[in-house]
Symmetry: D2
Subunit: 146 residues, 4 copies
């Protein structure tokens, strides 16, 4: 069935299917937008439970945001991918109330693995973190997994 | 006041203070045990909302667990430290219902930064993930922050 | 004196100055081309002493090539920068006789540090490795270091 | 034939075989000592061609040293392994004339990949760099490769 979809339609269908089960995205109230195969954008606002006593967002939540953009970007081909590894560099603090946006792009997609670069930016576009993820393809479909 | 505490007492006092505000630890029902300065152990069970449709834990939650052990290990000197960067390699999947344990140890502690190695293991001791975190000291106290 | 130079002229003057002392570049017969501030391109051919018994280039030399592109890209502002850390993912093997090209671009440049992304490609443009480097500014000039 | 060797004898036999072709080790005058399976120690002195104008060793050479310890540590089972990725954090500068020592230990060895931690230290034991390498097993033997 997926053969009749364009690349963009397929990527969006995979994202919709993933979103159904994505409790992290729901809990953190993330907004997911898959733009094209290999490219995804996820938004999240920094809420009180994400910050320390100084109003600064914990790095773990910034990682979760970038990790979500990574997951949606690498799973747009109906070829299920899992994270094999990731690294993050924190550039600037994110603060209570700010909306963060993570944009993922594909740096490489091979037969068995891929590498994705994710930028997390603050409301005025300043860089908050740089994330790089390695994906591994596990040989299952997303739309019709058996 | 902190001058009268042993290193171990100081580390535990810092951990108690941090725990008060640690919503991630509370939300994920983490159990934190600071063993000594530079060493911390955090436990977390894999719950239904952390897994995908195949019962496999999302990497982001394993990162959060390791990141917490990292935070408690690097903040036991009453010298506030934040994450400057981190990397994780996923070794084996974690499954629904398993209790994971993250053990952090100090690989380096300098004047302005530190490096910590965290191992995440499953219930039978097998390795689930390896995490490395870089901390930056920001020049504030934890017990008496002003 | 450097105030009369354009950004591009300054970046090229810094690269020329650095090249004078760059024994690694000379030994490995690298060809360095700084294209603009924050962007550099370095070429190197895989020679017999870089390969193992199967004609495959050791990862360490690919790292050296990417590291050189990183160094020239982050030092084009007459503000001396050193490597604070780096990571590399090897994507495809490089073979004896192939000319490799490393292209560095700036992902972030702040007051005290920067992050650079380097792609290493083979003769037909296929990706050989992805490198990310963190630079630290040490507060010295390059053209007139005192 | 390798079946009659102890683990230690096998690791040393693999290291001897690897050393024959190791031009990087020869060129940089490294001294390799495999201590046991999964553990290796490599020494290298900082020579004039490795330093910049301030007598500080280029990071690329410190990487090469750590990378060599990594290679000898992960190849001691007569099961050929190549680097899949690596990261390095530079902790303190190494200076002209200093002897550096890199000690590699196995953090994980699975069926198809491994993770190794390498510490690079200066003459008085202070930490110079921390390196982590991921190895991939390629299904070839070292002692009798066919």
């Amino acid at each position: 069935m997926s053969k009749n979809l364009t690349g963009l339609e397929l990527a969006r269908a995979c994202a919709e299917k993933m979103l159904e089960d994505d409790d992290a995205a729901k809990f953190l109230d993330m907004s997911v937008d898959v733009i094209e195969p290999g490219v995804a954008e996820v938004r999240m606002s920094v809420t009180p439970h994400m910050v320390n006593g100084y109003g600064v967002c914990h790095g773990g939540y910034i990682f979760l945001l970038a990790d979500s953009a990574f997951a949606y970007a690498c799973n747009g081909y109906d070829d299920m991918s899992v994270a094999a590894g990731a690294s993050i560099d924190y550039i600037a603090p994110a603060r209570l109330g700010e909306e963060l946006i993570a944009v993922a792009r594909e740096a490489h997609r091979g037969r068995r693995m891929g590498v994705y670069e994710i930028e997390v930016r603050g409301p005025d576009g300043h860089l908050v973190a740089l994330f790089r993820g390695r994906s591994a393809h596990i040989g299952r479909q997303i739309l019709d997994p058996k």
